[in-house]
């Protein structure tokens, strides 16, 4: 190492350190506009409609075809019940021929892959926007979607709030997007007709949207209280 290189190295390292420190200082001084985290239980981030959280079951639609539990790669869905007296179902959608006594999802096993949504003929099971339930025991993670309350009474208030909050966030996002669009349109108008509107056309491909958050039949928990399981034998 030559004498000159020795000092160049010291200078180079010091300079790079100074650059790095100026970056962090910049962030420190302007942290108000940089902060990206949210204070979780009090603020929430937007949960998009396609979010795959815990299951929703529309009990009255279910025809007990076992398709969801068949497709489940980890076999976490257990269904019990009867399929009605008058033989096999011809039309599953309006059949209402099934009486469920048990529809259990074991959340210690479930991997939230969403495969159970697709084969369901009446589309009565889907993965909803909720994800934050807790348990103090392994066995409590096994939820009977017919009877078990996913949340305690206390938590339900929170869940309800979270739903409202999410709707607010969606609305705000939409508003912002609309504003942006308006602004962009304005800018385009200002730019004049010089630019061709060539790439405006975007595909209107088939959509498989759930259309916002699933509306719940009852407040909180899972919309399944009605069909409380009394098995007909």
């Amino acid at each position: 190492m030559t004498f000159g290189q020795y000092f160049t190295d010291i200078f180079r390292v010091s300079r790079s350190i100074a650059i790095g420190m100026s970056i962090t200082l910049k962030y420190l001084l302007t942290f108000k506009k940089n902060v990206v985290t949210v204070q979780y239980p009090r603020e929430r981030d937007l949960i998009p409609p396609r979010h795959r959280g815990i299951h929703y079951l529309e009990t009255e639609k279910c025809v007990m075809c076992w398709k969801c539990s068949d497709i489940c790669p980890v076999d976490c869905i257990y269904i019990e019940g009867t399929r009605g007296a008058d033989g096999p179902l011809q039309d599953g959608y309006r059949g209402q021929k099934a009486t469920l006594s048990k529809f259990t999802v074991d959340y210690t096993v479930c991997i939230f892959c969403g495969l159970c949504e697709e084969p369901c003929p009446p589309k009565c099971i889907w993965l909803g926007p909720e994800f934050d339930f807790n348990a103090t025991d392994r066995t409590m993670m096994e939820k009977n979607l017919l009877t078990d309350e996913l949340y305690t009474q206390e938590d339900e208030k929170f869940v309800e709030w979270a739903r409202v909050e999410n709707e607010r966030l969606v609305a705000e996002k939409k508003r912002l997007a609309a504003e942006e669009k308006a602004k962009a349109a304005e800018a385009k108008a200002a730019a004049g007709e010089a630019t061709a509107v060539a790439e405006k056309e975007k595909p209107g491909a088939p959509k498989k949207e759930k259309g916002g958050l699933p509306k719940k039949k009852e407040k909180g928990g899972l919309p399944t209280k009605k069909a409380k399981g009394d098995t007909k034998e």
């Binding site: 010291i10 962030y27 985290t37």
Partner: protein, 410 residues
């Protein structure tokens, strides 16, 4: 000292203090001597043996310093978490108290209530002793450290020397901690600590010496007193070589208190948590506190040596309460201002340490040694010689002595 305590006719406490404390600046607000005077004033009615009074006085002083360390530790841990959070686009602690200021207290309570685990194969006595030694090593260095004008536990003639000398005690504690944990990773950290802290005392000592040469005294009070006046009278601006020496001191002090980028002894991605891997609960808290106390210590010494101690650098403000004819209110105001200036300067340097930590990656062991022995030490040696010669040539005037040289110095 033993002769003193066994003296036939017990001396009054004031005499004792005078005999013991040979400082020429008697009569100020030095904590130790102030307490002696206090005791002395009411002493005639007390019939306590003098050694007890001395011991009690020392204990009170010690507790005051200890309290300061605790409060400071609570504050700086919060500052570090907040600063790092804001650097990293986060909020940091927000829940306990406004902006989470009480978070550290909550954490402290949590730590004290945690189980105190000693590994089965650990060397129990040494394991228990280690955090105490580490903390004592830091605490004892606070003795000559001024917190404000005449606000010092004990003003020693050889204050700076004392700081450098007892600094090594901390190393012993860290080595004990790593060794007694009976953990190979802790042992790694121990060896790293030993090499690092012993090595970095050289540039640190050279920085001390260069200031001592310019100031002509070891006493921290006296060193600060010499930097009175405009801010160009600060040592960093008195002498261009000291201007170079200040960054050397700051880098070496980073290494001395094991802060990033020299946090090899605790390198959490390499050694899990270094020498305090096996510690939990209160013992861990003591290590933690010692680290932050050491951060304040090196920063405060940097302030004393290079950045004008308690002087604001503007004579108008510094003059408040100075002089014999100052009113009591002005004196108190001046005293408070000086203490505040001293502490806030040190806290700013602590903040710089935090800022550096959250920016830079860690160096490797050989690079750490390279920086010490091949970069800092030679440059510090050159600076020492240069500073001495400059001091002799310029006579120690402010702003590198240039105004004095040009005859502008009043």
């Amino acid at each position: 000292m033993s002769g003193l305590l066994l003296a036939q006719t017990p001396p009054t406490v004031g005499e004792l203090a005078n005999q013991w404390n040979t400082n020429p600046h008697q009569g100020g607000l030095y904590l130790e001597s102030a307490l002696y005077q206090l005791v002395d004033a009411m002493g005639s009615s007390l019939t306590l043996p003098p050694w007890l009074v001395v011991a009690a006085t020392l204990l009170v002083v010690c507790l005051l310093v200890f309290g300061f360390i605790n409060v400071f530790g609570l504050f700086v841990v919060w500052l570090e978490r907040k600063a790092s959070a804001h650097i990293q686009c986060r909020y940091g602690p927000m829940e306990v108290g406004p902006h989470g200021v009480l978070q550290t207290i909550a954490d402290g309570i949590k730590l004290t209530s945690k189980e105190d685990i000693v590994p089965r194969l650990a060397d129990r006595p040494l394991f228990v002793l280690a955090p105490i030694i580490v903390f004592a090593g830091v605490l004892v260095r606070f003795v000559p450290l001024p917190f404000g004008q005449e606000l010092v536990a004990s003003d020693m003639d050889l204050g700076l020397f004392f700081v450098a000398a007892v600094g090594s005690v901390e190393v012993i504690g860290v080595i004990l901690a790593g060794w007694s944990s009976n953990n190979k990773w802790s042992l790694f950290a121990t060896m790293r600590t030993a090499t690092q802290m012993v090595s970095y005392e050289i540039p640190l000592g050279l920085a001390f010496v260069s200031v001592i040469v310019c100031a002509g005294t070891f006493s921290l009070q006296e060193i600060i007193a010499q930097q009175e006046g405009w801010f160009w009278n600060w040592f960093i601006l008195k002498n261009p070589f000291l201007l170079l020496m200040a960054p050397i001191y700051l880098v070496a002090s980073l290494a001395e208190c094991k802060r990033a980028p020299f946090d090899l002894p605790e390198a959490e991605s390499e050694l899990v948590s270094g020498f305090h891997t096996e510690y939990s609960g209160m013992r861990f808290a003591i290590f933690f506190l010692a680290e932050y106390a050491a951060m304040y210590l090196v920063s405060a010494i940097a302030v004393v040596l290079f950045f004008g101690g308690w002087w604001t650098g503007i004579p108008l403000i510094d003059g408040i309460g100075m002089g014999a004819d100052a009113s009591a209110g002005a004196a108190v105001t001046g005293f408070v201002i000086k203490a505040a200036v001293m502490v806030s300067k040190a806290v700013f340097l602590v903040f710089v340490q935090i800022w550096v930590r959250w920016t830079l990656p860690r160096v490797r062991l050989d690079q750490m040694m390279f920086i010490c022995w091949k970069v800092l030490t030679p440059i510090a040696l050159v600076c020492l010689v240069g500073a001495t010669l400059w001091h002799l040539a310029s006579g120690g005037g402010g702003l590198f002595g240039i105004p004095a040289l040009l005859g502008l110095d009043g």
